[in-house]
Symmetry: C2
Subunit: 250 residues, 2 copies
DNA sequence: CTAGTGCACTGGTCTGACCAGTAGGCTGCA
DNA sequence: TGCAGCCTACTGGTCAGACCAGTGCACTAG
């Protein structure tokens, strides 16, 4: 009590200081996407460290998706625009380590897709509506082509809805979680022998949702979207997790 | 057309192969949290590369939050349990680069917190309910102490609700987005001169939500939670973004 | 004027060295 | 015998200097 309050000192590694500086420059806009960093050999001069230290810092920034470097490039590393890749990566890791069950992932999709539809019903532009129409049309056309094509059209539909929600966070998370879910059950769907029935059913559902969005009936669109997602995935979710999913239906 | 279809070859760097191998070992469970990697000098033998290459690989894995290393530690790097830290980091970056507006963040919180309450109303245990009670009690006690203490109790409440939702993804995302939002508006709240009124109002709102959760009325809890979040933050959101937030109220 | 060749530079990798820490064994004292 | 304290053999962090395979550009030869 009393006396000066000392902060715990943590030894900061040289490469971390470099990471901080460059990261800060990117986040503050002093370094814009597309711009180039000096070469490693020049950076070692600017930071007064050895090349290995510079390289370790660059590796970290690269792992965070802020930079990209290419051997032989006469310019230095390139500053990248933000991409959800690292978001995707860490969520995938979370799912892989089996901290996340399929049930939780599907539930999260129900939440996100429901909200996206709710918002899209209010905020959609005619162009976005046209995109959704086109996607459903593509789904119809894809039934005879194959499941992969169908799935791509399906994804396009959900993407259009997410974009129409005007919320980038919803878009990104939706995208990330969707691809993880699809990955998890890809083999099961491939084995299914009534895929055509599945596709036809899915199309009907999408049409219903789209009608509600078009009518501007957000709550109805959200409800339908959640129900459709539930119906589509419930078969792959273990029995004991299904009750939780039903908590999102009314 | 015709002829063999060749795959584009991408030159894969040595350190990336190391990252893949170690990452795979972690994700497959061959390397469990708490376990140690061999020392860098030994790894360079196992992978037949130089130490710099090993170190670059370790730096990447460290940046992804899979490892931690400490100088002087006679054991090698430690395998870490998954933590949302990197998820947090990438979301923060997304927000920093100003790709995300405060409105979008608040909207996302409304979605997540609403869903968390909806699920919590169904799934809560008596212990979780007690935690929520305790958190509200702590909020009441904190009014006279200071805003920081109050805010901590507030966070505890939302955490308890998120945990009761039984969905780790909701928990993690909620946590991440909340801390970003609080960071963004921390200075504005600090300047506010009617913080006491704000706190009292907030407590009343929390009590209402808690009652709905206790009663098992999910939809009502969700509606109240979204409304409360809206009321609390709408003042900090630019006028033109508010309409989108109202899309989540009914 | 253009096609082709070199050169100067890039990032990726390697070698070998030093430093400041840490832990655990060892020594010597009580 | 028990323990305090030193010593050593490690660790990761950093440095210096080197080589290689690529790349783009300027220059040159036709």
């Amino acid at each position: 009590m009393g006396g000066p309050r000392f902060e715990p000192v943590r030894t900061v590694r040289a490469y971390e200081r470099i990471v901080e500086q460059i990261e800060q420059a990117v986040e503050s806009g002093k370094l814009r996407p597309g711009e180039r960093l000096p070469s490693e050999r020049e950076l070692m001069g600017q930071f007064s460290v050895s090349r290995s230290t510079v390289r370790e810092a660059l590796r970290v920034l690269q792992a965070r998706g802020l930079l990209r470097s290419r051997p032989g490039d006469p310019n230095g590393a390139e500053v990248l625009p933000f991409s959800p890749a690292t978001l995707h990566k860490s969520m995938t890791t979370l799912a892989r380590v089996d901290e996340l069950s399929l049930g939780e992932l599907v539930q999260f999709r129900m939440v996100l897709d429901g909200s996206a539809n709710l918002l899209a019903a209010r905020l959609h532009t005619p162009e976005e509506l046209a995109e959704m129409d086109a996607a459903v049309e593509a789904m119809r056309a894809a039934v005879q082509v194959g499941y992969d094509t169908f799935s791509a059209a399906d994804v396009a539909f959900h993407d259009a809805v997410a974009r129409a929600s005007r919320n980038k966070l919803i878009q990104v998370c939706n995208d990330v979680v969707r691809s993880i879910v699809l990955n998890l059950i890809a083999d099961k769907i491939a084995d299914s022998d009534d895929r055509e029935a599945l596709m036809l059913e899915s199309i009907r559902h999408h049409e219903e949702v789209l009608e509600a969005v078009r009518a501007g009936d957000g709550p109805r669109a959200a409800r339908l979207a959640r129900r459709k997602m539930y119906d589509y995935y419930v078969g792959y979710v273990p029995e004991e997790e299904r009750e939780a999913l039903r908590g999102l239906l009314e």
